[in-house]
Symmetry: D2
Subunit: 339 residues, 4 copies
């Protein structure tokens, strides 16, 4: 970490600053120029509050040299991490990352046995390797449907037994963990990306975690949230880009695909993309899924429903199994040429 | 709620849509024009998923007429709500809203008995009516100081006894509620604004809640989070604007003061402003505090620390008690002329 | 256009509103419900100031049914537009849109004859079909290099003669148009996307225009800027997505690839993507170029320089001709599988 | 300027970098640590392309010490600038900045002689010291009213003669400058803030310029645009904050009032605020005008119209003269207590 001091800093102020920094067991490296003085800090700078340092009257600016994330940092783990999902409870084992590509598909909400069975069979046939489905639903309004909860999880487990597909579903409360015993991949949603109490609890288990990017989170904050889980001992994390909040209103969010190659540089964790939530429109899912694959994603998460009777819903965020099969064909085409 | 249909909608599609809407107990009101057909919905439209409706192939767009928040809505509660803080446990009662103005001040983190006692005495002398202090700290990094936790709360309770000031501190986990028994006002931080599981639990108690705006939350989403708490039965909510995330980097966040008069129109809940977190710089706290008062805020939340020895920290986010007293003078001046 | 009136609207106010609207030659269509009154407007609503209508005391909200852009609107021109670049002055004719894919490549700034000749030859060999190069440079700072201006254009013309590649370069001032006589495609940069005086002048000529998206422009505003040029009579417009401003700081801007399929729905104009400016990092150019192609782009604009001696610059925004050839290989692979 | 090098930088790469930097007449100051090497640059770093340096493979990051703006920088001009408007052509002289506060008021568009005369008289009576009115109107749509142009300017000049109020109106094209001969303060709108060709022309004249902030411009970019004008020789600039683009949709833009104290630190130029455009709602103009004054603004720009017959428009962005007089009373109250 480097602090650049203001020109008008007095010797007394400089000495006070150095004393304070050294009191935190840091080696201080001074470099005085005609116009400015640079204070380099060597040692464990994680104890320093960067914002505090930055806000000192005599400090012009602070530059962090090393990234604040360690366990998630590719510098210290150059090889791609491979996260293994399933392989217990009768589910097939699915690898994500390090060249392994996985598609997670299923309904936004688990609704009833017929629905989840039919969708599970459909997405499996089309080539999905993990079944997704919402049981606990974070809704902006308290008056909206909040999910089938534990009943929804049981329906997913049933579909797993039927198809052999491992299952992924969202957790919203650490107290619910016992219900997730047979869930193969636990999802942390965008709104809970900085629910640190939840992240800490997930750091104590050994199940893989799917960590979605917060709606207005920087890549650094996202990786720091992964670090929360990893610091607790659980290093099985898959990152999922799902669109960020911008001023554009035609699409629900703005899918940030440049996050994929950028993350590949910064971290060894696998990165997948959810084009369904990002765009909010089924007809944009295919082009954005193909683009995600071309940008280097390790997988996709796609909403698929089955409503043969509700023909009205064709335009919604979810694809029908047939439309999903069509997307998978395109995805496989791009995947082949990428290799 | 109104849905505007596309020109190419067939009679069959229109009938299907109406059947579906009527199956949800809504009265459908049709208005056919040369170029478009408008479907007006009368009844309890809260059961309708607006996004689903919007995404139907035949729907050009949807316009919600009534706001989705009800208990927080000024339309149904034209009078300003007044939230009462304290008045038990030996704390003085403090009113916020409806013409009652309150300043909450204290350190970012509670550190030790001397610190909190000294700051509490200082802010009380300068005119603060509620003592703030962080015990559980949401930090971006797992390696940063996470607060003194229950010990911090006990130190706050001690300072309350000493000064008679009611206390406010942040909760991050519903499981911690028993520790908050003697806390007078429970704060929900920006990162937890959409931690719906936490909000639901807070809806079951009768203590007042200070709900901070999420970093990238719209006013509507914020009010819906208040609605989560209110829907559970707890209507004692104070909203706190603390800056939103934008592209500007000079200030930490962008303080959205137009939110104050806008919220005054939309809701009956009191609105206060935290200029310390929004700007991240002590020297911007005074002008933004005065501006907040001039814009109609019902109170302020300001960070004050006591570090006579760490003269280096003058520029930080926190004010010294003396600087805070100076801000209070300015605030009182504006308050007088506002009346 | 539909206006939803507030419940408390009086008969007198309603009559005044209708009179005013009818005075603008609009047919008013009234639909009264129990809770609300809807005013539908039929006729040429372009004369109505939507914001004014929206801000009336009695108006709850306004919903525009038809898009405000007409000549750019796919609804009225279902077939893809094909823009033809070059084909005079000895340049080869290049088509963009409607299945025709074109890559524009070259240096950020034209610097000297050797540079532009070498780069032009290099990008042609690698498969680029249009040569780009900056002569007039919009720089944030008045103290930064502003481009070679007319001399730069002459160097581009020389490179065109040498290679047969049509040339594209940016215009910043309508008064400079005479210098652009031999430029085949005139670029309007992001900062000038709403320089309406410039757009109007470009509407009077018949050369194709490359219109870059403004840094914080919505798709609608962008299409309205295209409409400015088209309203003047020049319908040869290529849109270029080049990243939008968000809160993320790792990448220079956030490349909005979902804009491609969204624009394909809204307009018949060709859409290309500039991954160099969007990301600001050469090493992100390839993944984002491939992703753009997979998302359906009609072309790419890529920065290529030649600095064999300045090996230091490898990491910059620009690719070397060799790196560019490598990107082209990947692009062609994706293009093949897309067909 | 400081560049922090990556750990893996070789001696050869370091030497190449130093040679390159020294070839640009910079003194290089090296500081090697165990983990990193810091390169400090002394001399005129304005020739260095910061982005290029930042993007080199061996560079971890770059930190600029001095601000890139010079003439606008308070460091080099500690005293507040006072800009004088009018005082020729029979207009009263009005000072802005350095303790001088000015209110500019008038209609969005100049429409006809009666309108401008009546509004001018009204705003003068209420205490405005400068008359504003749009003659050239930048509109998102080419089909919207583009202003009365030169006729509008003549009507403003007529109102100036009548009232003695200096006039301010927007310029969109440097070719129009001859029409602005009798305009006392020339406005550059948000959309043209980075129309560098226009800024350069305005640098050659000696009339004061009102420079509005771009919709998505950082404070630094805004000050660099001021620098464009000042670099040309014209240092009479007033900055005008008018709201920035964010994700919030209730208000048209988000008024960034923290920009006022922040700018006061960075620059000596006067700063005024336009609450009418920022919020787009007349009923938010008063609270935001008062807040701007409390935050330290040197003036206000407020839209006032006269439409006694169009009672419908009460809720629009513009105030009536009576409402404006009411705002002025509040403003004067805050101003008194601020002194």
């Amino acid at each position: 970490m480097i602090a650049v001091l203001k020109r008008e800093t007095t010797e007394k102020q400089l000495k006070d600053l150095i004393d304070w920094l050294e009191s935190m067991n840091l080696k201080v490296h001074l470099s005085k120029g005609d116009y400015t003085t640079i204070v380099g800090l060597v040692g464990d700078t994680t104890n320093i509050d960067r914002e505090l340092l930055e806000s000192l009257d005599i400090v012009e600016g602070v530059k962090t040299i090393s990234e604040p994330f360690k366990k998630a940092n590719r510098k210290f783990h150059p090889k791609d991490s491979i996260v293994e999902v399933g392989a217990t409870d009768g589910a097939n084992s699915v690898k994500v990352g390090g060249g392994h590509f996985a598609v997670m598909a299923g309904p936004c909400s688990v609704e009833n046995p017929e629905q989840i069975e039919e969708v599970a069979a459909g997405v499996k046939a089309a080539g999905a390797s993990i079944l997704r489905g919402g049981a606990f639903k974070p809704r902006t309004s308290p008056y909206d449907f909040q999910g089938l909860k534990d009943e929804g999880i049981q329906l997913l487990e049933h579909a797993k037994k039927m198809t052999g597909l491992p299952i992924v579903t969202e957790i919203m409360n650490p107290n619910h963990l016992p219900m997730f015993e047979h869930v193969d991949l636990i999802q942390v949603g965008a709104r809970n990306m900085q629910n640190f109490e939840l992240l800490k609890e997930l750091g104590k288990i050994d199940k893989p975690i799917l960590l979605k990017r917060g709606l207005a989170s920087t890549l650094k904050e996202w990786l720091m949230s992964a670090e929360y889980i990893m610091a607790g001992g659980n290093e099985n994390i898959i990152l999922c880009e799902r669109g960020i909040r911008t001023f554009e209103t035609y699409t629900r969010n703005t899918l940030d695909l440049s996050a994929i190659p950028m993350l590949k540089e910064l971290t060894h964790l696998p990165v997948i993309v959810d084009p369904s939530h990002a765009t909010g429109m089924a007809r944009l899912v295919k082009p954005m899924a193909l683009a995600a694959v071309a940008a280097g994603a390790d997988g996709l998460m796609i909403e698929v429903h089955n409503n043969p009777s509700k023909a009205l819903c064709d335009g919604a965020q979810s694809l029908t199994p047939d439309q999903f099969a069509h997307v998978m064909k395109g995805v496989n085409g791009i995947r082949e040429v990428m290799e």
